[in-house]
């Protein structure tokens, strides 16, 4: 059985007029199903670019990226959209909820594009909201909820399509430390349930909660460390 994520010698070059920016310069990385990996690095290290690649929002300039054994590099926009829809759940720093839609409508959005029938969609969205402790906020709009509640809605949205990978990009960046702690505890729970989580952050103490920390600098992998070998689930 192939690894969940197999990245081999991936390059990403941005053409900025006269000079070329090498955001990723030969990165290789293998992530198994059920891992909890933190990607760290200063700004400009290429961690956002790597996250976009793993999240199938972008394709590499060169190199290979296999997701569940399928080559993703070179896919069209619509093929990538289908993979994002089925395999990846995003949690953003700024929540990125639709302001005019209530919690259930926000959570069911991935299912709309997956073509799930209305009834089933509604049921699954409500179930996902209950699982993140928002059973009593189903029909609140984002502006009627606290930051922590909004991020929970985002987590529910990321989970609703039962994705292979949960991608969290600075999920606590817009939260106070207490609610940030709650969200991180939620992540720990999800990992304990066997989900694969990739956390992008620049905060050391958050990264230490993950089982494995990958540090980037100047588009290359600087180090790849397992915090406590015992904590690596499944591998």
């Amino acid at each position: 059985m192939p690894a969940l994520i197999e990245i081999q010698d991936v390059h990403k070059v941005y053409d900025m007029g006269d000079d070329k920016v090498r955001a990723l310069d030969g990165v290789s990385l293998v992530i198994q199903e059920g891992e909890y990996v933190a990607i760290m690095g200063p700004s400009g290290s290429g961690k956002s670019t790597l996250m976009n690649l793993i999240g199938c929002l972008d394709t590499p300039t060169a190199g290979s990226y296999k997701l569940k054994g399928t080559e993703v590099a070179g896919m069209t926009d619509d093929e990538l959209a289908a993979i994002r829809n089925g395999e990846i759940g995003f949690i953003f720093q700024t929540f990125n909820l639709l302001p005019r839609s209530d919690a259930v409508q926000n959570v069911e959005l991935p299912l709309v594009y997956a073509g799930v029938p209305r009834r089933e969609r509604r049921d699954r969205a409500q179930e996902a909201l209950k699982s993140v402790g928002l059973g009593d906020r189903m029909h609140h709009r984002p502006n009627e909820m606290s930051g922590g509640q909004r991020q929970r809605v985002a987590v529910a949205r990321a989970l609703v399509n039962r994705p292979s990978i949960l991608m969290a990009d600075e999920p606590t960046g817009n939260l106070d430390s207490k609610t940030g702690e709650e969200i991180m505890n939620l992540m720990d729970q999800l990992h304990a349930q066997g989900r694969t989580i990739i956390l992008v952050t620049h905060e050391e103490d958050l990264a230490l909660r993950a089982a494995r920390v990958v540090r980037l600098r100047d588009g290359r992998v600087l180090s790849d460390v397992r915090n406590t070998p015992m904590a690596v689930g499944g591998a």
Binding site: A81, A82, L98
Partner: protein
């Protein structure tokens, strides 16, 4: 998915009620203007058409006529007599009845009341040819005609003018210098374009000729009836030939009469109403174009404002076609709402104007105008919505998510 997008579109337009309304105002005014004008023109031509069809498709009118300009100068006297009509009736293969018509304006006096009316001289058969009958009393009989009796039939409007009782039968009236007895009153016809169709007096043709002499006897017009309505064109040609021979016209001379069929009159009215409709259609095309550009403009603004939303949708798996259809449907719904409001506005305005113009026959909105308005406004939404929607569909998800 379409249903999904329909709901989304309505929600998003409702969130900006004022903006949506102002955007679609161009369409509302464009569609409203067409429906107003079309409803008025259609109302008008419907009444005219009914009026003409009442005459019967079998009717042909023949009048003495000098063509205008140089052509007319080639003719000596322009005359038409009762004998011309009788000759046509005798020789024609198509015409089976002829009623002569002469007209003279006279002062009509009942007691102290005086008014000026057209006095029409005709024969008993007129009633059947014109499809127009007496309401009370009787029309002229053959005996009135033969004996040149001083009897008259009144148009319905004359009763009120001359303060006659509701039943004026047997009353004596002075028409010019002569005294006439009222034997009948025609059924009311109402008004058409401000012209009262009920203000006239009819007397027997023979009586008219006896009193007015050559001034009417040599200017006779005819109402002719063709046996088969399908043969009016042949009948028209035949009548022209017969009259040219009788009037001894040379090849280089024009007709000294005019033959008009009901079809011709109908065609004229249709041409008139079509002409107006085309002009309005042109103006509307411009209004819809302007309205469409407004929609495109606001959709572009909307796409920019919702860049993040588009990014989120793409991140969770929306394909280009999903985003494209979302925004196209929003534009179509916007334009269609304008179309619906415009139709409402046009129907209301048409009825209002028809009521405000005295003697306007009324307004009528044909189904084709409604269907066309729907069709055109959604086409405008589709056409002008595609560019902004394509722009939205092409947005890069990473940059959209970063957009502030």
């Amino acid at each position: 998915m379409i249903l999904e997008n329909l709901g989304l579109a309505l929600r998003s337009l409702w969130a900006h009620k004022m903006r949506s309304f102002l955007t679609t105002l161009g369409i509302i005014i464009g569609v409203g203007a067409v429906i107003t004008v079309v409803s008025l023109v259609q109302g008008f031509s419907q009444v005219i058409t009914r009026e003409i069809e009442g005459l019967g498709a079998n009717s042909i009118i023949v009048e003495p006529n000098r063509p205008p300009g140089k052509e007319g100068e080639k003719l000596a006297r322009v005359e038409m007599t009762l004998e011309d009509g009788e000759a046509v009736l005798a020789a024609s293969r198509y015409v089976d009845a002829v009623a002569p018509l002469v007209q003279n304006f006279e002062k009509v006096k009942a007691g102290e009341e005086v008014a000026q009316y057209p006095v029409l001289g005709t024969t008993p058969i007129f009633q059947d040819l014109r499809n127009y009958y007496v309401e009370q009393g009787r029309f002229f009989a053959a005996v009135d005609e033969r004996e040149r009796q001083n009897v008259c039939v009144l148009g319905h409007g004359v009763l009120k003018d001359l303060k006659l009782p509701a039943n004026p039968l047997g009353r004596e009236l002075a028409i010019g210098a002569q005294s006439f007895r009222v034997v009948g009153v025609m059924e009311p016809k109402g008004q058409l374009l401000g012209q009262d169709l009920d203000k006239f007096v009819m007397i027997p043709f023979g009586t008219a000729v006896g009193i007015y002499g050559d001034t009417v006897a040599k200017k006779v017009a005819f109402l002719m009836h063709v046996r088969d309505a399908a043969q009016t064109t042949q009948a028209k040609d035949e009548i022209s030939d017969l009259l040219r021979i009788r009037h001894r016209l040379r090849f280089d001379q024009p007709n000294d009469f005019e033959v008009t069929t009901q079809n011709q009159i109908l065609e004229t009215v249709t041409k008139f109403s079509n002409g107006i409709t085309y002009v309005v259609a042109g103006v509307t095309a411009i209004a819809l174009l302007v309205g469409g550009i407004g929609i495109m403009n606001i959709m572009l603004v909307s796409v920019t404002e919702r860049t993040r939303e588009i990014g989120v949708r793409k991140a969770v798996g929306a394909r280009r076609s999903h985003i494209l259809s979302q925004f196209v449907i929003e534009a179509v719904v916007l334009a269609l709402c304008g179309g619906v409001l415009g139709i409402g506005l046009g129907v209301g305005l048409g009825a209002l104007i028809a009521a405000a113009i005295p003697n306007w026959p009324g307004s009528y909105v044909p189904l084709w105008a409604t269907v066309l308005s729907f069709g055109f406004s959604s086409a405008v939404g589709l056409f002008f919505g595609i560019y902004p929607a394509a722009k939205a569909a092409r947005l890069d998800p990473i940059e959209s998510l970063r957009y502030e």
